[in-house]
Assembly symmetry: C2
Homo-oligomer: 154 residues x 2
C-alpha cells in the first residue's frame, strides 16, 4: 500500500469503473450504492458494515442494516468490492471488472490491506487442483503480518 498516492484519484477512478460496469450490465448505480462505494474508498482500509451506517445517516440516507447490506451485496456482485471474512469487513477492489481470484495482505500494525497479485493465487489454485483432484471455483486468501512501511518503522 503506497502512502503517497493521489487518493482523490483513487476514488474517482473506482467510481468511474463502477459506473461503466453498471452500464455494461444494465445495472443501476443508485445513490445509496454509489455512496457506499465512495465511503469504502474514502476509508481505504477494510471497513465494517456497521461503520458505514452512521456515515450514510450523516448524508441523509436511510441507515438501517438492510440498506447497507443490500448495497454491499450489489457491489460485491458487481465485483467492485471484496469481503474480508477474517475481519468481517469490506474493501474496494483494485482491479474491478476483471474476474480474478481474491486475496489480501493485511498489515496488523497500520491496518492497510493490499490486494494480492492474482498471478500467484492462480498458480496455487492450479497446483492444488492437480494435487487434490478437486475443482476450485472460488477462494479467498487472507494473510497478515507487517507491511514494508511498518517493517521499516519498526
Amino acid at each position: 500500500m503506497s502512502q503517497h498516492h493521489d487518493h482523490g484519484h483513487c476514488i474517482a477512478s473506482a467510481m468511474d469503473t463502477a459506473k461503466k460496469l453498471c452500464e455494461q450490465q444494465g445495472a443501476r448505480l443508485t445513490p445509496v450504492r454509489r455512496r457506499v462505494l465512495e465511503l469504502i474508498w474514502q476509508n481505504h482500509k477494510p471497513i465494517g458494515a456497521y461503520e458505514l451506517l452512521p456515515q450514510l445517516a450523516a448524508d441523509g440516507f436511510n441507515s438501517a442494516p438492510p440498506t447497507v447490506y443490500r448495497a454491499l451485496d450489489f457491489l460485491l456482485e458487481l465485483g467492485v468490492v471484496h469481503r474480508i471474512s477474517s475481519l468481517n469487513a469490506f474493501i474496494g477492489c483494485d482491479q474491478p471488472g476483471l474476474s480474478h481470484p481474491t486475496g489480501f495482505f493485511i498489515c496488523k500494525e497500520c491496518g492497510n490491506a493490499t490486494e494480492l497479485p492474482a498471478k500467484h493465487l492462480t498458480k496455487l489454485a492450479q497446483a492444488l487442483e492437480a494435487e487434490l483432484g478437486v475443482s476450485i471455483e472460488s477462494g479467498s486468501h487472507e494473510l497478515s503480518g507487517l507491511c514494508s512501511s511498518c517493517r521499516t518503522a519498526a
Copy 2:
C-alpha cells in the same frame, strides 16, 4: 477427504496428540476442552460454535456461549483446531503440533473440508513476501469448489 477411513481412529489419534501437546506445554486438557475437541472430530466437518452447545448440554456440561468459545480459543491456541472464517466454523487440524500455514478446500456439495498441503502455502507466502516486501506472520486460505468424489458423482 477419504470416505473410507477409520473414523474412530481419527478421533483417538487427535485426542492423543492433544494430550501430548498439553503435557509438553504444561497446559490442561480439562473435561470440557476434551469434549469439545471430541465433538469437533466426531463431526469431521466444519462445525459452528453454537452447534456444539446442545451437544455439550447433552453431556451435562455447562452450555453457555463463553464455555464453548473458551474451549475453542484454548484448542486454537494449542494448534489442534482451526477456524474457517468464511463459514464461522471450526475443524480439527490434520497435523497438530507442527506450526504450519493453514488453509482448507471446502466442497460446496458435501461440505467436507480438506486441509491444504503446507508446502504450497509456504511457497505462495515466500513469493508474496518477495514481491510485496512484506513479512507474513499468519494467514488463512479458504477455497471452495467440488471435491473429487463429488466431481465424479456429478
